[in-house]
């Protein structure tokens, strides 16, 4: 019997398990697939503070940003604190960007149009300016998740963190109201608490416990170029439209340019958002729009080749806030899911706060805004 079962071996589940083990708890992580095989394996690895409106999610992002830097010191995965450059097409948008940056209170530099090329030499001419956020970073999320699990297993004593892949949770074990474990296709596993870190599938896991979590898939595509010999793009570069798209409630297709290089030499190009269920069919019009937006920002990319594209499903909550904390409707069940497109960035803070909760400590941030109770 473990103290905690974590459902989901994505980056959020890995962080929950890591911090719980660090707090001295015995943790078992279950995943129906391999490690990092869901949304974690389909993202860009964004660790952003720049795209958050002031409020609880920004607080979470800032805490997480600090924790990622600590975790990266363990090594074993790519972590690039390269900074993010948000660019504005018009003077009006630039004014809004500067205003947002002022309200966020996050470390930033306002970049006038004349200085944009100092940051990104290949950026298109004619942009109105931008804001640079030095804390924005990039991680290789799959390897980060796998390494966190391994590091947790190696560092905190034998048996403290156990990963079981290929195990599907089919229900919950209850003792009265209380959740006391999970039923799986490999038998029942008991624990004092169960953490639902099933990401986009978090709503389905919650339903097994008879509680509703309104988490919906919000599909995104990413284009990947051939490895470039010379790095053309230094930072994470995106347009102001990304900020509004992230916060949008529309089910329709929305796209904005997010462009960045990777240590392997490929350039990653996002981002699209649309609510179409779990449909994996490639949408050529979306790929075309992503290409057009990226080349508008970086004309130099026009003669570079795309060698693949992939899609994933962000766990979208109607109020755009993750679900973190105990579910009042099912004592013993905690949620750590619904981070939409920010799961990589917000994973360490999520795991850290849940571990504090599980070990009876006072949490470093107020979890009330993220409470599952808001759907009760």
């Amino acid at each position: 019997m473990s103290d905690v079962i974590v459902i989901g071996a994505g980056v959020v589940g890995a962080a929950c398990a890591y911090y719980a083990a660090a707090a001295g708890l015995d943790v078992t992580v279950l995943d129906r697939g391999p490690v990092a095989g869901g949304t974690t394996g389909a993202g860009e690895g964004n660790v952003l503070v720049s795209d958050k409106e002031p409020g609880p999610e920004l607080d979470l992002a800032l805490l997480s940003n600090r924790l990622w830097r600590e975790l990266a010191e363990h090594g074993g995965f790519e972590y690039e604190p390269k900074g993010g450059l948000v660019v504005a097409e018009t003077g009006e948008v630039q004014r809004q960007l500067v205003e947002l940056a002022g309200k966020q209170g996050v470390e930033h530099t306002v970049v006038p149009d004349t200085e944009l090329h100092g940051y990104e030499p290949h950026l298109a001419d004619g942009l109105a300016g931008g804001v640079f956020y030095p804390q924005d970073a990039q991680v290789q999320p799959m390897l980060a998740a796998a390494r966190l699990l391994r590091h947790g297993a190696d560092s905190f004593g034998h048996g403290a963190l156990r990963l079981r892949t290929g195990v599907t949770v089919t229900g919950f074990v209850r003792s009265g109201e209380r959740v006391t474990g999970v039923r799986t296709d490999h038998g029942d596993i008991l624990a004092d608490a169960v953490v639902n870190a099933a990401g986009t599938w978090g709503g389905q896991v919650a339903a097994l416990a008879g509680v509703e979590l309104p988490i919906l898939p919000r599909r995104g595509f990413i284009l990947v170029t051939e490895p470039l010999r010379e790095p053309l793009i230094r930072h994470k570069v995106y347009t102001a439209a990304y900020v509004t798209n992230v916060a949008s409630d529309s089910a329709d297709l929305e796209t904005s340019a997010v462009v960045e290089g990777t240590p392997a030499g490929s350039v990653l190009i996002g981002a699209s958002r649309e609510r179409v269920g779990f449909d994996r069919t490639t949408s050529i019009p979306v790929l075309r729009r992503l290409a057009a937006q990226a080349t508008a920002l970086f004309p130099v990319l026009r003669n570079r080749r795309v060698i693949r594209s992939y899609c994933g499903f962000r766990p979208y909550c109607p109020d755009h806030l993750p679900v973190i904390g105990p579910d009042p409707r099912a004592p013993g069940l905690l949620h750590a899911c619904g981070h939409e497109g920010a799961g990589i960035g917000l994973a360490p803070a999520t795991g850290h706060l849940l571990a504090q909760l599980l070990s009876g400590e006072r949490t470093a941030l107020d979890l009330a805004p993220f409470s599952p109770g808001r759907f009760a």
Partner: protein, 451 residues
């Protein structure tokens, strides 16, 4: 409805036969191929020459007939296909300049052939080490032999024509090393299948050039500094573990362990797949070559590797079925029983060959920790084993953690080996972009009107 009744992707035996049968039935047909000439891999030939080999005369006649009856779009690459409401959209890049445009069609025939299935071994990334198909393409397509003294190794009947072709071109073939089959050339399955002429032809060609043919032997390592200068040839047990080894000098190696059917386009459209006897994912088709997706057909190697003769037959079957289906399915069975029965015989033979030349697991023992499995991303065996140790349980998650298959070839070269290392059957590849496409080309696709 604008566009074509049928677009055929692939100009090898299956595609040409399919296009011709459909065109002769009165359909408006376009055939698209990435190469400059019809022929595919099997009938690859140099500019200004004609295809050669078994069945070449017939293929040439079919090509001539096709030219007047269908539109041939050569030097055209298909990078994606999409299912529309009442048509299939084929996204094409034309010529050297890669001009993007789309073709709309009522039916699509996928006849995209297969590519080599190599296995990694120490030194396989040295210049001078080629795939068997690569060596063959170089010789047939460019008239260039892979080297002056060449070793041919791997498994399967394809090694024979490769070695015979090289020997005929004046190359010194230092040996053909077949990892399977304790029986030798005299009991080759080609003979058992009544293909004595074919097998004896290759056998005689090899014997005439004094080329040694050794079964239960394989090249297990290649050596050299700037290019291959010699190889380690090992005697193998039935599981392909090394029993003893020796060194053979050479300046080129041609290695092939079967073929991987190219099914990217079928997977894009959501066609159901299955596995053939050699473990490859293939498109699942009915006896009329229909896939599980309406209006989409497949013929030749994408439905299972079976050689040029079966490919042609399947192409013909597909062409007849498509014409029948477009005519609202009237007029009984479109495929004559004699063709159907020949197809059954050829498929049984193909299956027997695949079963006679399996890939045995012992090859994994040939690898060193630093042997590259993925050459594009330079991923050694040790990193793949490390990913598995971290919780990657299948080829996809190994790719996510360790990057094999993330580079230029998108796993076409290393995918099979990675699946074997993961201990799973290769899964149907998800490649939404079947050919690299420039961002400039991709952003222009909707500016172009359907052809």
């Amino acid at each position: 409805m604008t566009g074509y009744d049928l677009v055929v992707v692939g100009g090898g035996p299956a595609g040409v036969a399919g296009a011709l049968s459909a065109a002769q039935a009165g359909l408006r047909v376009a055939l698209v191929d990435a190469g400059p000439r019809l022929g595919g891999q099997y009938f690859r030939h140099r500019a200004g020459s004609l295809p050669s080999g078994r069945g070449a005369d017939r293929f040439v006649r079919q090509c001539r007939a096709l030219r007047t009856r269908a539109e041939l779009l050569l030097d055209h690459k298909v990078w994606a296909v999409e299912q529309g409401e009442d048509s299939v959209t084929v996204h094409v890049m034309a010529g050297q300049e890669e001009r993007p445009f789309t073709l709309a069609c009522r039916s699509l025939l996928i006849a995209t052939g297969a590519h080599d299935r190599p296995l990694p071994f120490p030194g396989w990334d040295l210049p001078g080490v080629l795939t068997a198909g690569g060596a063959q393409a170089l010789l047939k397509g460019e008239g260039v032999p892979a080297g002056r003294r060449v070793v041919v190794s791997g498994t399967g009947p394809f090694l024979l024509p490769v070695a015979a072709g090289l020997a005929k071109a004046g190359v010194s073939v230092a040996g053909v090393f077949e990892a399977n089959g304790p029986l030798g050339l005299a009991r080759h399955p080609l003979l058992a299948a009544g293909k004595a002429g074919e097998a004896l032809g290759y056998g005689a060609a090899l014997a005439g050039h004094r080329v040694p043919y050794r079964t239960r032997h394989a090249v297990v390592a290649a050596h050299g500094s700037s290019r291959v200068t010699h190889v380690t040839v090992a005697r193998l047990d039935a599981e392909w573990r090394v029993l003893s080894s020796r060194t053979v000098e050479c300046d080129a190696v041609a290695v092939g362990y079967g073929f991987v059917p190219q099914i990217d386009l079928a997977v894009q459209l959501g066609c159901a797949t299955t596995h053939s006897a050699d473990g490859s994912p293939v498109v699942d088709v009915d006896e009329g070559q229909r896939t599980s997706v309406a209006s989409v057909y497949a013929a030749g190697e994408p439905t299972g590797v079976g050689g040029a003769e079966l490919a042609e037959l399947e192409g013909r079957t597909a062409g007849l079925t498509i014409a029948h289906d477009l005519a609202s399915g009237e007029g009984g069975d479109p495929v004559p029983g004699v063709l159907r029965r020949r197809g059954e015989r050829l498929r049984a033979f193909a299956r027997a060959l695949q079963e006679a030349y399996p890939v045995q697991p012992g090859w994994q023992d040939w690898l060193h920790d630093d042997t590259l499995v993925c050459r594009c991303e330079e991923v050694p065996v040790s990193r793949i084993r490390e990913a598995m140790d971290l919780g990657a349980t299948d080829a996809r998650s190994i790719k996510l953690l360790a990057r094999p298959g993330m580079g230029w070839c998108q796993g076409r070269i290393c995918g099979y080996a990675v699946s074997c290392l993961a201990g799973e059957r290769p899964q149907a590849p998800r490649r939404p972009i079947a050919q690299p496409i420039t961002l400039g080309c991709l952003e222009r696709i909707e500016d172009e009107q359907p052809h």
